[in-house]
Symmetry: C2
Subunit: 133 residues, 2 copies
Amino acid sequence: MICHIDAGNGIPIYEQIERQVKFAVANGWLLVGERIPSVRDLATQTAVNVNTVSRAYRDLQQQGVLIAIRGTGMVISGQAPQICKQDRLEMIRERLRSVLQEALQNQISVGEIRTLVDDEWHQLSQDQKTDEA
Amino acid sequence: MICHIDAGNGIPIYEQIERQVKFAVANGWLLVGERIPSVRDLATQTAVNVNTVSRAYRDLQQQGVLIAIRGTGMVISGQAPQICKQDRLEMIRERLRSVLQEALQNQISVGEIRTLVDDEWHQLSQDQKTDEA
DNA sequence: GCTAGTGTCATACCACGCTATTACAGTAGT
DNA sequence: ACTACTGTAATAGCGTGGTATGACACTAGC
């Protein structure tokens, strides 16, 4: 599991981890029963403190996505796929709404938004390809 | 000048104020030479502390949007419209990019994004109309 | 000159996110 | 049993955003 942390987007690190785990489950990159990286491994890999990762895992546990087995590790729960697939678009939708709300309140038109979306999407797609290369 | 503060969108209050002043200038709701509300007035009106408003005004001053006249108030600068019009779409673009980046990294398709945008825009437009009524 | 209004500054306090460090309890492999 | 891992927890410290409060210097209107 690869985890990208963006320090400058305003979202707390522990929440970014939670979201990415959920996306990974929803997309089938993490399967039911599969172990996720230990808190120490993920902390080292993402250059983040153990406590921060631990908080994310604890939250995911309380949401029913993870199951902790003390001394062994943490595992994707059986109900996780259902939960995560349900949240998949909602997580994006909520962030999107906040941006659109500001745009609408300030006289930006639907057309401007649409071109903005297409432009940025195109740009990001190419960035992603060059990253992979 | 009416100012809406959203406490739950992750953007610092002082930054929200800055953005809304800029939008107001870009849209011609605030004209060059016009006085903006005093720090105490805006603080009371938005239920925010004076220092927070003051910080927003100070930032806008350093960006060349406002001019402070000690003992009198603050005024929209001559170069403000140019600056603010230039930033108008950029401010939205940056927030939008952050959301699209997350979407792209997690296998959301352009189609899903487009329908999300249209749905939410439609929803927000109606909300705004009912607010005005 | 007095008063009421400006912006500005300093101090203290709190909540939150994050880090660093240490320690503890449990499991698995040898 | 020993070792090397797991998750969990407590503590202390830092930076930032926000509040509350009080004080200062300045200006405009009466």
